[in-house]
């Protein structure tokens, strides 16, 4: 790693001020950032650690929304009685991230900001139509992810929390790449008064909505509604773990299983 200065502010406002100066980068759990710094992929003059910003850590219910603070570790979300009760799909998603040691440190906000194409949390943003609240504005979930490791966040913009609408039914089903435990294909489905959402992670350069499946499931929220629905492999990822054709098959099959789990 190249060396850098280190700051640990106690508030979002102070963190924003520190980020504005020089070429600084936010640090949350460090589970993605530190390994990338070790590879010297990037160089920053300073890291601004959010570890002491306590008001963006925690879970609460706000009307029909589950609100998760950016600095909430995956392990805390997975173990939360509140999350298990009102949005169990999010608890099981968090429970399936990496391994226990990663879950103790890695955070929801870090995962969203990182926008790894195979990460789990991004599928919950699109799959529920969540809203990302930063220190500057609110960003609609559908506008948040822009591409491989790319989001709508501006330089120096800090995610404070994410508001997940509480659906009638939801489930997240992941087919894990067994070595990394990231999603080979992961599907988040939800059904609410606003309709059905199906979000797919791991299969393409960025998380996306599987609109053909949404239309079919809106008519009938049942795995059988997906009979005859396919997805073209053309825009899907192909790598040593799985070809695009295989992923296309998995997308439909994992959607079917997610719908079954959400019944």
């Amino acid at each position: 790693m190249y060396d850098f200065d280190y700051y640990k502010p106690a508030s979002v406002a102070e963190a924003a001020r520190l980020l504005a100066a020089g070429d600084s980068k936010l640090l949350a759990g460090g589970m993605s950032l530190i390994p990338s710094l070790k590879m010297r992929l990037n160089r920053y003059s300073a890291l601004v650690d959010l570890g002491a910003v306590l008001d963006i850590k925690g879970i609460r219910r706000d009307g029909n929304f589950l609100v998760i603070g950016a600095m909430t570790p995956h392990a805390v979300v997975a173990a939360s009685a509140e999350v298990r009760k009102i949005l169990p799909a999010i608890a099981s998603l968090a429970e399936g991230i990496g391994d226990p040691l990663v879950r103790n440190r890695g955070t929801m906000g870090g995962s969203m900001a990182n926008a790894d194409p195979a990460a789990d949390y991004p599928s919950a943003i699109l799959g529920l139509g969540a809203t990302v609240v930063t220190h500057l504005r609110q960003i609609a979930g559908d506008d948040f992810f822009k591409g491989v490791f790319e989001t709508a966040l501006q330089a120096g913009e800090i995610i404070k929390e994410v508001h997940f609408p509480i659906p009638q039914k939801a489930a997240y089903t992941k087919y894990r790449q067994p070595a990394s435990r990231f999603a080979l294909v992961g599907v988040f489905v939800s059904k609410s008064a606003d309709g059905v959402r199906v979000a797919v992670t791991g299969a393409a350069p960025s998380v996306f909505r599987f609109t053909a499946a949404e239309a079919a499931l809106a008519k009938r929220f049942d795995p059988a509604a997906l009979d005859g629905i396919t997805i073209k492999p053309d825009d899907l990822n192909s790598d040593i773990h799985a070809s695009a054709e295989y992923r296309a098959h998995c997308v439909v099959e994992i959607t079917r299983r997610a719908v079954l789990a959400a019944q």
Binding site: Y2, G30, M31, P100
Partner: protein, 160 residues
């Protein structure tokens, strides 16, 4: 910019201080500054769990945590488990059940196992143990005896 900065934390019950760079990892601070070399570095890419320590009561991979981020924190390493010459029940169980061969992964396995007991209690079924050890890789044993050792160690911790 950069240079060294003072850091102070509690390690195995003792307050320690040192001068580290921004980029100094917790595992480097433990091994190179404090000479606590029981915490190993296997992969340095956050995969293997050899470097597992407890940070404020949670198992973490110390190769992916900055030393400066641990200011005022409470850290426990493998050296902090035994009581003088008396091994911790989890250490004793690894010896008794032959839960190691080369021993390289063992400190991390044991720290992870104790974290598991703290979270899941003293009675652990095989599935729970295997699932909780997903972040700890062993290249020798095939895990069978590690699982037995963790289950026995957990039970022994209940009575200690």
């Amino acid at each position: 910019m950069s240079g060294t900065h003072k850091v102070s934390m509690t390690v195995n019950g003792k307050t320690v201080t040192g001068n580290v760079e921004g980029r100094t990892l917790l595992v480097q601070f433990l091994r190179e500054h404090l000479q606590l070399t029981g915490t190993h570095v296997g992969c340095d890419t956050s995969q293997c769990g050899c470097c597992t320590v407890h940070l404020n009561g949670n198992g973490v991979k110390s190769c992916a945590v900055l030393a400066l981020a641990c200011e005022d924190a409470n850290v426990v390493t493998i050296e902090g488990l035994a009581n003088g010459d008396k091994l911790h029940p989890m250490q004793e169980a690894f010896r008794e059940h032959h839960g190691l061969q080369c021993g390289y992964c063992t400190p991390g396995m044991i720290m992870s196992a104790v974290d598991m007991v703290n979270r899941n209690g003293f009675e652990l079924d095989e599935k729970t143990v295997r699932k909780h050890l997903e972040g700890n890789i062993c290249r020798c044993t095939g895990y069978h005896n590690i699982v037995l050792a963790v289950q026995a160690g957990a039970a022994a911790m209940k009575n200690s």
